[in-house]
């Protein structure tokens, strides 16, 4: 792949987004904006209890309510359960416990919000009115809610087959080497972390419309998905047994995902199944309250970590013990989050020679937990960067120096970590230095004094992080338990008059693929960006696709497009050689023009395109007409973006309020196609990281299992006045194994930022003797920590 032509719309240019006009004028088409002829509306009656037996469902009265078309319950449901896409094996070799997950509960409800009945009516209001007439008798049983307590003997059991609520008990690394290193350590630092449960809260609530064509027997599902082909595969093959050829899945404009729209949800299967039953389209739209109860939640780990160091502060070994909450069922990718997306990152940016981690996955009577922006990597980064910070405080080594001292050296790449991954490239020293300078780390003392004069406490915090993304090499993830390949497809259709449609298996739900991918192709084929359209999100249009998550779209999906473009250019050269009566070897392609090297003969790309479709003068015995190519790209490795985030905060000690004054993010995301879009991704990720650090937490009542933060009245979403302006810097080392050199940008903001924020808060509170705080550092928590420290000092 060339560096790019330097064109104003090519690689490296901040091209304004092609998709914006429709979004800015209200013409975006999200799932809930779609209405099918003859459409009915579904409302889902959900469990009010965290754990109960369903004794009886009486829907006779509801069935007679105005407008009701059908009422369906678990007894009516005769299809399969929702599958899990990743299998983990425990230490003892036994496979994880995989309980059934039917879209409608059969005999027991296992979390508040579990699906009990599907009510289909002529209008949404009628369906909801009728739902109130359904009489469900439950026999409540004691739920288990606390992750800390769920694996203790005597805890209530979510599933009888999962003893002590344990789904699996997994480990990675060399325990003996780690134990040996700890035995000779000069200093050991220990930390306990709660990485709290978050609720993703894409602004568009989930929605799904099932449609059934009586003439062809074809089903169509319109859904709010990040990966329509994955939904087609999972729902078609495992749940409803509909062959791909009879099932179309469309994910139109999608209003944000952040992971929560990767998974195959019960409602998708229910509307599709029900559409076949009532032979009319069935539409379900989540309201926000339902979203809080039923979207897959994120994070929710408890970690204990220990770091062994020599007398100079060199890291010798790391030992980690993690408990990860799965919720009541296994969501699509839940098992891989605390294991292969979390524990394999424990080396971070450091050359720690020995690492051992144990991870227990635990069922509780709560909503399912799965990937949320960063997925496992924020948890690991938070644990590491809090631990390293604490080690610096304990040993008296400067907190920047301790990091620098332990960084993987620039000349050590490719670097094999003790926990499976091999990093291809990186330069953590440069991102650190740039960030320190940009954030004026050196000038903090003066600024602390200024704050002190106002009665405030200022602090600065740092995080040096790394993540693995560009998900993923299929053979590698297959050996780790993935039940699918994770390649991507790109298809380029050059039309007769030279415009181009690019079909990608990735899905854009805010990332701006329609622009970035158009830039790639416009640059590569030397055609105006206006002539390139990017199509995604429809299984009937796109050959195949694994979708968008794990910061993979450019590194994997973009690489597939580049491969397809290479094929287009190869074929075009042969056509051009024919037209110019030259040998293919002598034909060069640059800026949209084919030339014969050393001559003034040239043919523009448009002429080649036309010739391919109007093959009057064409090498027809050697080449087929037409100009359309498809490529599947399976990456050779993960990609490894990394960098340094620095946060500066001011704490009001009287109220506990933390104000984020400055945030600096210097990242190495590999090759950047559109800097404006890449920066925007970092801004958004950082805001979600600040959200986790200071504002957001899902809380369940530990006795009843009721969600206490079930709306924006209690779940604190970051708003404009919670987030500072964010300074973004970039220091690029290229990915060495994909044709773009791209690493990925979607998640870095959310991965690097939370420990920078908390380390800043703890730096501010250091003079008061506060040594630890649990996220989110809400005003109330900070105030309590100050009071506790004051009492201890008395």
């Amino acid at each position: 792949m060339p560096e790019g032509t330097g064109s104003a719309t090519g690689i490296g240019a901040s091209v304004k987004r092609k998709e914006d006009f429709r979004f800015l004028t209200g013409r975006g088409t999200y799932t809930d904006d779609i209405n099918r002829p003859g459409q009915t509306y579904a409302y889902i009656l959900r469990s009010p209890h965290a754990s109960a037996d369903i004794v009886k469902i009486d829907s006779a009265k509801a069935a007679k309510a105005p407008g009701v078309v059908a009422i369906l319950t678990g007894a009516d449901y005769d299809k399969g359960g929702l599958p899990c896409g990743w299998q983990i094996h425990s230490k003892d070799g036994s496979p994880m416990i995989e309980p059934p997950h039917f879209p409608l509960c059969k005999d027991k409800v296992r979390h508040v919000g579990d699906q009990v009945a599907l009510i289909i009516a002529e209008t949404y209001a009628q369906a909801r009115d009728a739902a109130e007439l359904i009489d469900v008798s439950y026999k409540e049983t004691k739920p288990i809610v606390s992750l800390a307590d769920a694996d203790k003997p005597g805890a209530a059991q979510v599933w009888p087959e999962a003893k002590n609520n344990t789904c699996f008990d997994w480990h990675i690394g060399d325990k003996a080497a780690v134990d040996a290193a700890f035995a000779k350590a000069a200093h050991v630092t220990k930390i306990d972390i709660v990485n709290q449960r978050l609720i993703p809260n894409a602004m568009e609530p989930r929605a799904a419309i099932g449609d059934f064509d009586r003439a062809t027997g074809e089903f169509t599902l319109y859904t709010t998905s990040q990966n329509p082909h994955v939904i087609r595969l999972l729902m078609g093959a495992f749940v409803l047994q509909i062959p791909e050829s009879k099932l179309r899945v469309v994910a139109p404009d999608v209003g944000g995902g952040f992971g929560s729209k990767i998974f195959h949800y019960a409602e998708e299967a229910l509307v599709t199944w029900a559409a076949g039953k009532v032979e009319r389209p069935v539409k379900w739209t989540s309201d926000r309250s339902e979203a809080f109860l039923t979207d897959a939640h994120g994070r929710d780990q408890i970690n204990h970590a220990e770091l062994a160091m020599d007398k100079d502060g060199k890291f010798l070994a790391l030992r980690v013990n993690t408990k990860a909450n799965m919720g009541a069922y296994l969501s699509t990718f839940a098992p891989c989050v605390p294991t292969y997306l979390s524990a394999t990152l424990l080396a971070g940016v450091y050359s720690t020679p020995a690492i051992y981690a144990e991870v227990k996955a635990i069922f509780t009577n709560t909503a399912v937990v799965d990937a949320y922006r960063g997925a496992g990597r924020p948890e690991t980064t938070y644990l590491l960067e809090r631990l390293v910070e604490k080690a610096a405080r304990e040993t008296g080594i400067d907190r920047v120096e301790i990091r620098r001292k332990n960084f993987i050296p620039v000349d050590a790449f490719p670097y094999q970590t003790p926990v499976a991954l091999q990093y291809d490239s990186g330069d953590y020293f440069s991102t650190l230095d740039m960030a320190l300078k940009t954030a004026d780390w050196a000038g903090i003392d003066k600024r602390k004094a200024d704050s002190k004069a106002k009665g405030k406490l200022r602090g600065i915090g740092i995080s040096t992080y790394l993540e693995a993304c560009g998900i993923a090499p299929s053979a590698v993830v297959g050996s780790l338990g993935a039940r699918a390949g994770l390649y991507e497809t790109g298809q380029i259709r050059v039309h007769p008059t030279g415009s181009v449609t690019v079909f990608t298996g990735t899905h854009s739900h805010g990332q701006g693929h329609e622009t970035t991918f158009a830039q790639l192709v416009s640059d590569g084929l030397g055609i105006p960006i206006e002539n390139v359209e990017v199509s995604h999100g429809d299984t009937n249009k796109i050959p195949f696709g694994m979708g968008t998550y794990g910061s993979r779209s450019l590194a994997v999906g973009g690489s597939a497009i580049v491969k397809a473009m290479d094929k287009i250019i190869t074929k075009s050269k042969r056509i051009a050689a024919h037209l110019m009566e030259a040998s293919v070897a002598d034909v060069e392609f640059k800026n949209g023009v084919f030339t014969v090297v050393g001559t003034d003969k040239s043919v523009p790309f448009g002429t080649v395109a036309l010739t391919a479709y109007v093959p009057h003068n064409y090498p027809i015995t050697e080449l087929e007409p037409g100009l359309e190519e498809t490529a599947f790209y399976d990456p050779l490795n993960f990609t490894f973006p990394g960098g340094c985030h620095i946060c500066e905060v001011e704490v009001d000690p009287d109220t506990g309020t933390v104000e984020v004054l400055k945030f600096t993010a210097v990242d190495d995301i590999g090759r950047v196609i559109n800097p404006m879009i890449a920066e925007g991704q970092i801004h958004g990720g950082v805001a979600q990281g600040i959200g986790q650090a200071l504002l957001e937490a899902a809380a369940y009542d530990e006795e009843s299992g009721q969600l206490l933060t079930g709306s924006y009245m209690d779940y604190t979403m970051p708003r404009a006045d919670n987030i500072p302006n964010i300074t973004v810097g970039n220091h690029v080392t290229l990915c060495t194994h994909n044709p773009l050199g791209a690493k990925g940008v979607g998640e870095v903001g959310a991965i690097g930022s939370p420990p920078a924020v908390i380390n800043a808060v703890l730096d501010a509170l250091l003079p008061l003797g506060v040594k630890d705080i649990t996220m989110p550092a809400s005003p109330h928590r900070v105030w309590q920590a100050i009071q506790t420290a004051k009492k201890a000092a008395e």
Binding site: S289, S778, H780
Partner: protein, 264 residues
């Protein structure tokens, strides 16, 4: 929400008639708190009587020693009113802190105080300034109006028509937002009036209340330090995810100090 019959009277008299005729009628003005409640299906009124088309309920006028605000006047109108800013700047400031930009352009003072949400802002000003609530039947002193969580002295079908605020010598309002909802976790209104110091606290307890301790402390010495030194008891204060009773108690004196310092 459940369905209901909708009425849009253009006079207070017609509104009173409409509610009288309804089996379980409810008034709606801006509806900013009521409609979310109905959407959650937490209430099921038979009839909704919309007060927003009644001209006589709207407007702000300087009256005697203070200012009178029609019940259907929006928070934005109060926050931006030159008369309010001049007469009682703390009241305009308080109105500018309610809800958010859009909520302030719909929500009304009458709706807010009739609802008497324990975390609403307006009750603090009404009680803190010793305002008078005027209804279609009578006048009610602020000290007699608020009766605890979501309860007021209003009789069934009684309509607030206006609130009269006497001009204080000085007043200030300080709000500490519940981080998620942006309602008052604690809000403190302090006023130095001809009749003495009044300090009204919202958000902290089951309903707006006057703090005798703060009033006593500020009575002798109307300074931030005097307020800051008052230790508020956490007994009976609210505790939830966003703040323990002790935290709220601490905020009461902190905010009282800040409101006193800002009072004008």
């Amino acid at each position: 929400m459940h369905n209901f019959a909708f009425h849009r009277p253009t006079s207070v008299a017609d509104a009173a008639k409409a509610i009288g005729a309804a089996s379980d009628g409810k008034f709606v003005a801006g509806g900013q708190t009521l409609l979310p409640t109905l959407r959650q299906r937490l209430a099921e009124p038979s009839d909704m009587i919309d007060l927003s088309a009644i001209a006589e309920l709207k407007g702000i006028k300087v009256e005697g020693d203070g200012i009178t605000i029609g019940a259907a006047t929006t928070h934005t109108e109060v926050a931006n009113s030159a008369d309010v800013k001049k007469t009682i700047p703390a009241l305009a400031h308080l109105a500018s802190l309610i809800g958010d930009h859009q909520v302030r352009q719909r929500g009304t003072i009458g709706g807010s105080i009739a609802n008497n949400d324990p975390a609403a802002d307006y009750p603090a000003a009404v009680l803190g300034l010793g305002a008078t609530i005027r209804t279609n039947k009578r006048e009610i002193k602020a000290d007699d109006f608020f009766k605890g969580m979501f309860e007021t002295d209003l009789a069934e079908g009684e309509i607030i028509t206006a609130v009269h605020f006497p001009k204080p010598e000085k007043a200030g309002y300080e709000k500490f937002r519940q981080p998620a909802s942006r309602f008052a976790l604690v809000g403190v209104f302090v006023a130095k009036t001809g009749g003495g110091i009044r300090v009204a606290v919202t958000g902290a307890g089951p309903g707006v209340f006057r703090s005798k301790e703060l009033e006593a402390a500020l009575g002798g010495n109307f300074t931030a330090d005097a307020a800051k030194g008052v230790k508020i008891s956490a007994n009976g204060l609210n505790g939830d995810l966003h703040g323990s009773p002790e935290y709220r108690a601490s905020l009461v004196s902190t905010l009282a100090a800040r409101a006193t310092a800002a009072a004008s």
